[in-house]
């Protein structure tokens, strides 16, 4: 039995080692090398790429990424919590309502981002409708700014917030809520003093699951930020393509992983059920 199981794990070990862990090691090695004359990498070993983080330009991009990811996470939480609460109390319709959250999530991420370009551009549906109604004269600059990026990220990752929140809210003991109401707590007090603290595990999981992909986002800032709203992801892409500074691109990638890893570990530790 044990031998067969070991054989069954061999292919996935091979793939994960060669196509995931080993490439990460290569990035680590590259980050400690020097940029070659025509791009690529060359000796000597150096930590120069890491020292470049101190440059105010890059610190600014880092700060902007944190700001955008943080804002997107907070907005997702504010929008997602009432929705999860609604679904958790929807009785027999629960599964349908939950599917309605999941379905767009699995629909093409690219298409969902593009849909906002379609709506928000100067001649898009929002601006043209507002103009027709005479509310505005000139189109509002809705696209190609931080706001559009945050909107796109919230739209993209809201399901990641709703699912874990729903998970904990569903398990909330109804008796407890009734007891709170029985003891004279008004709905708002019940929500703030009982529901919110008890759903902390779901909030924590949701925040981590939304923050991680937002921080590393590349596609959304590129399409909806229009090159004005550069985040870490775009910086990495740029170093590997246009700038051809692989060591620096590798160093930024590892820095990003260094932020993601502890968050993931915090999530896995709390995840009693365990997905894997």
């Amino acid at each position: 039995m044990k031998r067969l199981r070991a054989w069954f794990l061999a292919p996935s070990w091979t793939v994960m080692l060669s196509l995931f862990l080993f490439p990460m090691l290569i990035i680590l090695a590259y980050s400690l090398l020097t940029r070659g004359t025509y791009g690529g990498i060359s000796l000597p070993w150096s930590v120069e790429s890491y020292q470049r983080f101190a440059d105010p330009i890059y610190l600014g991009i880092l700060w902007r990424s944190f700001w955008i990811a943080g804002a997107s996470t907070v907005i997702s939480l504010l929008l997602g919590f009432p929705l999860a609460l609604f679904i958790s109390r929807a009785g027999k319709w629960k599964n349908l309502y939950l599917s309605l959250v999941i379905l767009p999530f699995w629909t093409s991420f690219l298409v969902r981002t593009y849909a906002w370009m379609f709506l928000l551009r100067d001649t898009g549906l929002v601006n043209s409708t507002l103009q027709k109604m005479g509310i505005i004269h000139d189109p509002l600059p809705l696209l190609y700014n931080d706001g559009a990026v945050i909107l796109g990220l919230v739209y993209g990752y809201l399901p990641f917030m709703v699912l874990p929140l729903f998970g904990t809210l569903e398990k909330l003991d109804r008796n407890l809520l009734e007891a709170a109401a029985d003891l004279g707590a008004r709905p708002w007090a019940t929500l703030l003093r009982v529901v919110l603290p008890l759903s902390a595990p779901g909030i924590r999981a949701g925040v981590i699951l939304v923050f991680i992909p937002c921080l590393g986002a590349y596609l959304t800032p590129d399409l909806l930020g229009g090159g004005k709203s550069v985040m870490i992801g775009n910086l990495i892409q740029n170093q590997f393509t246009t700038a051809r500074d692989w060591p620096f691109g590798s160093a930024i990638s590892l820095a990003l992983m260094a932020i993601v890893m502890p968050l993931l570990i915090a999530f896995v530790r709390r995840d009693e059920e365990g997905l894997l």
Partner: protein, 255 residues
């Protein structure tokens, strides 16, 4: 606690409109005669245009080849992996699967690119369909493992013991007892892996060669230049296609 209160229900309606309306509007306007956001009449014009665009068709075929190959490989490997992890835990393997799931796509992309370039020093190969397929396998295995594992957790371990007891060897116990029990989940996982693979842009764009441009890459290139009615049509098709696949997958997963 009472049933969902009225303000909450109204809020939920608004949230669902927020989630679904943009895609529905986009799909509706893909049938617009005009290339501008003014409704001028129903037309299949942009669908016809997409159909006659050889670059789009070629890219779609590439995407299909990549997605089918990557799905087949990752479904087999992921199913075997889930089975292997079922009773005998491996924190390192599970950990790297988790990590592969949350690693920012751009990081996965550049690390694979760096890896391929390093390998190519020793082999006479170039970026192409094979590098894209391998990259897709690496990021879709985790999805397969999670879906199949969820189903395995509901399978009674005594079933396999019963099979061994009745004379089946380990392979036969897997083949005739455990695998049939998780087969719907395996199919659901395959559909999921297919959509994830078909849709990927960020990783693919880093590891694709000149002959392996996928549909998302072409769509992205057009979209970056601005809104284009042909992209609207393709988007509508993708939304519809993915929606159907995901609904089937959900149905399989929960039966």
């Amino acid at each position: 606690m009472k049933r969902a209160s009225r303000p909450l229900a109204i809020y939920a309606l608004a949230a669902y409109l927020f989630l679904h309306l943009p895609l529905l509007i986009l799909a509706a306007f893909s049938f617009n005669e005009s290339r501008f956001t003014v409704w001028q009449g129903f037309s299949f014009r942009w669908y016809t245009a997409a159909w006659h665009d050889s670059q789009l068709i070629e890219a779609a075929i590439n995407s299909l080849i990549v997605a089918v190959c990557a799905t087949a490989i990752s479904t087999v490997i992921g199913t075997l992996c889930a089975y292997g992890l079922w009773k005998r835990r491996s924190p390192v393997l599970s950990g790297s699967l988790y990590l592969s799931l949350v690693t920012p796509e751009i990081v996965t992309g550049v690390s694979l690119l760096a890896f391929y370039q390093w390998i190519f020093r020793f082999l006479n190969v170039q970026l192409g369909m094979h590098t894209v397929i391998l990259a897709h396998v690496s990021f879709s295995i985790a999805y397969v493992v999670i879906v199949v594992m969820a189903r395995l957790r509901t399978v009674d371990g005594a079933l396999e013991e019963a099979a061994l007891d009745l004379g089946a060897n380990e392979w036969e116990a897997f083949r005739y007892v455990t695998l049939p029990a998780v087969l719907p989940a395996v199919a659901a996982a395959a559909l999921l892996a297919f959509t994830v693979s078909f849709d990927d842009y960020v990783i693919t764009s880093m590891v694709a060669g000149v002959d392996s441009e996928t549909l998302p890459m072409v769509v992205y290139a057009i979209a970056r230049r601005g809104v284009n009615p042909v992209v609207n049509a393709i988007s509508a098709l993708l939304v519809l296609g993915f929606g159907v696949l995901i609904l089937i997958s959900e149905r399989l997963r929960t039966t």
